[in-house]
């Protein structure tokens, strides 16, 4: 947020950033309103050239406030509108994020319809509709027509949006590039009227400019639909709307999506679970990790009069006895008046806060996706042979609770399968197998996929810093592992520290990176165990093949030398071969552990799913997407993978044996 105010101190003499596809700024308002408005004079404002050195007075004449909207209009790259393709993706992202947030907050299972229409070569219209609670009429202009307006900034609560910039910025971009206002239709209930607004942003005043306001008939019961026309580019593959929707579906198995692309194709992502993520609570900051300046600001703004009450009311996890301890350490009492706390005392108080042992922040402010939901998301979206996921316990950075989750998918259709028994694959498959695939990192912050600035992201750095060689993957120094592996990393937090307003990369705090690495290590260890077991199994099955290959030769040779019962001899040799290679028979149970005939205890692999080499998502796994996976893959091959749910191992092994 500091970015918004910082430039006000500098002289406002920017050139307007040249955007070839965008109409000149003067044209912006032409079509939108008949109202007389002062023409924007930015860009040529201070044409008055001082011939000599500027004096304080002449400079003062130039010094004035800059509107946030104006600032972002010029620095749109900060919001993720640096190029045409990214602009479209960012707009989609903001619209979908808002829709999901709104639905979840209202306790509605989200159902999101996204459509992108191509109007001309570089002109697109994005339409996004949700089934959320809708927006009351009065708020519509503010939410969509004003930057930094919203419900999310002033609270510590886990949500996708944080600052209240996103969707307004998308609207502003559309306006800047096409001159077309944003169109919003919202309906708050079946019997309520639907309001249709057309809004422009007055960038100078950061105020909505209502162009049209009327009631309309819509075929849906409740929700909000936003339509933005913009100059944009549409792509496929990496960093595309497709990838964004794919990944969003992985991280939000409770949401249903439909996406209609510009060529008319319709993609459907059915809901995978009927369970909404746990509703998160707003929390107060946790004392650990806040900064001294923040504490002083809080002291100034608190409604409490005494320090003890201030600590209890404005922070989480501070009880009255703990507040007493803190005050004692700081050399004051709980009764000390807040307004008597001078900066020195505040510093002592700050130290005392940091030195006191406190309970970790409550977890109900966070709604992790959950290891099992991550597994089902990965199973749905990625065809691999091994899946595992891990959710770390919540912890704190700078007083903000956060939680890290990691999922790892390995092998299968990701290529480079290490199994040696893939002989039935065609030569095409073989080729793909030989090419070393680089690992892919899928990043999420509060369930929102992060598609840009991967290398600046704490998650990516953590992946690089992890020693994957220990887990059986090859990795060059300072690089991501060269292996067919997908690494999903999710950070859930009441305040995700992004490196910029466009929310593309998670800032690299030590606490965060440490947690990510711990979560990766947990998944990595399981992957390592799996790979070692698999290797061993392949090894023994290769040996058995060797023995079997020679058995007939030995039988025939011996038969030529002596007389005996040939079949009996062969049978005893075959059974000896089985014994000698017993490890090859080991099968994996639902936890990825070997099922051992003699009930030998093996270490359990939690939250892990192993699929046979076809890489099919096993039907009925976790009770999720049971129908569609059974339909699409039905009758292909019998499935060996088992659900990650904890059924008793004994029952399973009894059935297997």
């Amino acid at each position: 947020m500091d970015d918004a105010t910082a430039p006000s101190a500098t002289q406002a003499t920017f050139e307007f950033p040249a955007e070839p596809a965008a109409p000149a700024p003067e044209n912006i308002r032409m079509p939108q309103s008949a109202k007389a408005r002062s023409k924007p004079t930015q860009g040529k404002k201070k044409a008055a050239k001082a011939s000599g050195p500027a004096s304080a007075e002449t400079m003062a004449a130039q010094q004035r406030e800059i509107s946030v909207a104006e600032f972002f209009a010029r620095n749109r790259h900060l919001l993720g509108f640096d190029n045409k393709r990214k602009a479209l993706l960012t707009s989609v992202k903001e619209a979908v994020d808002n829709a999901l947030d709104a639905c979840e907050e209202a306790g509605v299972l989200p159902e999101i319809h996204l459509e992108i229409r191509q109007l001309s070569e570089d002109r697109f219209r994005m339409i996004c509709r949700d089934n959320g609670p809708g927006i009351v009429k009065q708020q519509i202009p503010n939410i969509f027509g004003k930057l930094l307006y919203g419900s999310k900034f002033h609270r510590l609560k886990m949500s996708r949006g944080q600052q209240g910039i996103g969707i307004s910025a998308a609207g502003m971009y559309g306006l800047l590039t096409t001159g077309k206002p944003v169109s919003i239709v919202s309906k708050t209930g079946a019997k309520k009227p639907a309001h249709h607004y057309k809004l422009a942003i007055d960038t100078k005043k950061n105020k909505p400019d209502i162009i049209e306001d009327r009631e309309v008939e819509v075929p849906w019961e409740r929700g909000t639909e936003i339509e933005i026309e913009m100059v944009a580019g549409f792509n496929r593959g990496r960093q595309s709307v497709f990838e964004y929707i794919d990944q969003t579906a992985i991280a939000n198995p409770h949401a249903a999506f439909t996406f209609k692309g510009p060529t008319g194709e319709l993609m459907e992502y059915p809901r995978a679970t009927e369970e909404l993520p746990r509703e998160t609570r707003e929390i107060k900051p946790h004392p650990h990790g806040i900064e001294l300046g923040v504490l002083m600001k809080m002291l100034k703004e608190t409604r409490a009069t005494q320090v003890g009450a201030f600590l209890q009311q404005d922070f989480s996890r501070v009880s009255s006895s703990v507040a007493g301890q803190i005050c004692q350490k700081a050399g004051i009492t709980a009764r000390t008046w807040v307004n008597t706390v001078d900066p020195q005392t505040a510093e002592k108080l700050y130290q005392a806060l940091q030195d006191t042992r406190l309970r970790a922040p409550s977890t109900d402010c966070l709604a992790p996706i959950g290891a099992e939901a991550i597994l089902s998301g990965l199973l749905k979206g990625i065809k691999a042979e091994f899946y595992t996921a891990s959710t770390r316990p919540p912890t704190v950075y700078r007083g903000n609770p956060f939680q890290i989750e990691v999922g790892v998918a390995f092998g299968g259709d990701l290529g480079g399968s290490s199994s040696s028994d893939d002989d039935d694959n065609g030569s095409v498959g073989k080729k793909a197998k030989d090419e070393p695939a680089a690992a892919r990192v899928i990043r999420f912050a509060n369930r929102v996929p992060l598609l840009y600035q991967q290398s600046a992201c704490s998650t990516y750095k953590s992946v690089i810093e992890t020693k994957w060689n220990n887990y059986g993957l090859s990795q060059a120094r300072g690089a991501i592992p060269q292996a067919p592996v997908v690494i999903l990393i999710h950070m859930a937090s009441v305040w995700v520290p992004f490196t910029s307003e466009s929310k593309e990369a998670i800032a690299d705090y030590d606490e965060i990176r440490k947690e990510i690495k711990l979560a990766i290590a947990e998944c990595g260890r399981r992957l390592g165990i799996y790979l070692r077991r698999k290797k061993r199994r392949a090894h023994f099955s290769q040996r058995r093949d060797v023995f079997h290959k020679y058995i007939d030769e030995v039988v025939e040779a011996c038969r030529a030398m002596a007389t005996f019962n040939k079949d009996e001899f062969r049978r005893s040799l075959v059974s000896l071969a089985e014994q000698a290679t017993a490890h090859a028979d080991i099968e994996f149970d639902e936890h990825g552990n070997m099922i051992q005939p003699k009930e030998q205890a093996e270490r359990t692999l939690e939250h892990t799913v192993i699929v046979d080499r076809e890489g099919e998502p096993p039907a009925g796994q976790l009770g999720l997407f049971a129908t569609e996976s059974a339909d699409t893959n039905g009758g292909r091959k019998k499935k060996r993978a088992k659900a990650a749910k904890g059924k008793t191992k004994k029952a399973k092994s009894a059935r297997k044996r």
Binding site: V546, Y550, V554, E556, A557, M561, S572, L573, L576
Partner: protein, 389 residues
């Protein structure tokens, strides 16, 4: 099929060995029976649920002893177990069985095969794979040798012969497969010594020779033949083309023992020459189990000695520099128990090291072409003191 007797009875240490369990002796079971026993044992092992195996005596320096009494190399007691259900040995085990079955087949049909023939008989694609039972003959030959020791049978008893190498000419009349051969009338080519020279094949008739002169290679032998050395010196001339094959060694052994002829050996002056001499005299490590019927412990080394350079005033042109391999080999040879402790040999080898060069017999031609037959060899033969034992 007559079995040669082993003069020194080997300790019957091979208790676990598949067949008879005793070193071959008079009245032992016939080779075919031993092969059948081998197969039966394997079948019985499998039937009992044990991993089938064959014990194979080790053919390496670590498992040979130099018997100072008999003065030849004997095979020790160590054997190696070859299991079927051992990943590293499975193929070898299968190959051993395969070669054994082919040998039995040949014996029963009364056919004799070369070792290369056995390789082709046993080589085929394994059903359902592209893999061959044998890829090269080099893979097959050691298996056959393993089988010889494991079955305690001679190669000829398994109806296998090696390729012939080596030739003979001189004052001897003998019968080979019913044909009488007068070895004085063999022109310049001589008689090619076959690999099987057992009394069943070759019978000595008339011998006018006073000794046998064995030279290292064909080229030297030809010089001696052209100069009719055998006629002048009343001897039999043989060569074994480097390391002599079994047939040549067996024949030398027979001539020495049956015709009471001393065996003189003329080799190049280099570590290989020394070693070849020792093989003739004491037997080889690889075929230690056959030393008793091949070695000639009384054989004498008459040249070329490291001292001969000075003694015969040879020119610098005969010198070939020793390389690091030669030095290494010379050291190894000095440590063999059958060389160790022999002062004369120690002197000889040290002299060669001191000289820093080696010499070939052919080098004598630098004096004049027939120097070796007219001057060098006669002088050496006369001077018993210059011989090495």
């Amino acid at each position: 099929m007559a079995k040669a007797k082993k003069t020194a009875a080997k300790k019957s240490s091979k208790s676990t060995k598949a067949p008879a369990g005793k070193r071959r002796g008079k009245g032992g079971p016939a080779t075919t029976d031993r092969i059948t026993d081998l197969a039966q044992t394997v079948v019985a092992q499998a039937g009992k649920g044990t991993d089938p195996f064959v014990d194979i005596p080790i053919r390496a320096l670590s498992n040979v002893d130099f018997n100072r009494k008999t003065r030849y190399i004997e095979m020790g007691d160590k054997s190696q177990r070859r299991n079927f259900f051992n990943f590293g040995q499975a193929k070898r085990f299968m190959q051993t069985m395969l070669v054994a079955s082919k040998c039995k087949d040949n014996i029963e049909r009364n056919k004799t095969s070369s070792i290369r023939g056995i390789f082709y008989q046993a080589k085929h694609s394994i059903k359902g794979t592209k893999e061959k039972t044998f890829d090269t003959q080099e893979e097959c030959d050691p298996v056959l040798e393993d089988l010889e020791v494991a079955l305690d049978s001679l190669r000829e008893e398994l109806h296998v012969y090696a390729s012939s190498r080596g030739a003979m000419i001189g004052e001897l009349t003998f019968v080979d497969s019913g044909d009488t051969i007068d070895a004085t009338r063999l022109g310049s080519g001589g008689y090619a010594i076959p690999s099987i020279v057992e009394p069943s094949v070759i019978q000595f008739k008339k011998c006018n020779a006073k000794f046998v002169l064995h030279v290292e290679k064909d080229t030297v032998w030809r010089r001696f033949v052209e100069d009719r050395f055998w006629e002048k010196h009343k001897c039999i001339l043989t060569h074994g083309n480097g390391q002599p094959p079994r047939g040549v060694r067996r024949l030398l052994h027979r001539m020495h023992n049956e015709l009471k002829l001393p065996v003189m050996v003329l080799m190049d002056n280099d570590p290989w020459g020394y070693y070849i001499y020792s093989v003739i005299k004491q037997g080889s490590i690889n075929l230690a189990f056959e030393s008793g019927r091949m070695a000639v412990p009384d054989a004498k080394f008459i040249g070329v000695s490291s001292f001969d350079y000075e003694r015969f005033g040879l020119s610098d042109d005969v010198k070939i520099d020793l390389d690091s391999n030669d030095i290494k080999r010379a050291k190894q040879i000095m440590e063999y128990p059958w060389f160790a402790g022999k002062k004369e040999w120690e002197k000889e080898i040290r002299k060669m090291a001191k000289n820093g060069f080696k010499m070939e017999v052919e080098a004598m031609a630098s004096k004049h072409l027939s120097f070796v037959t007219e001057e060098y060899t006669p002088a050496k033969l006369k001077d018993k003191k210059s011989w090495l034992d």
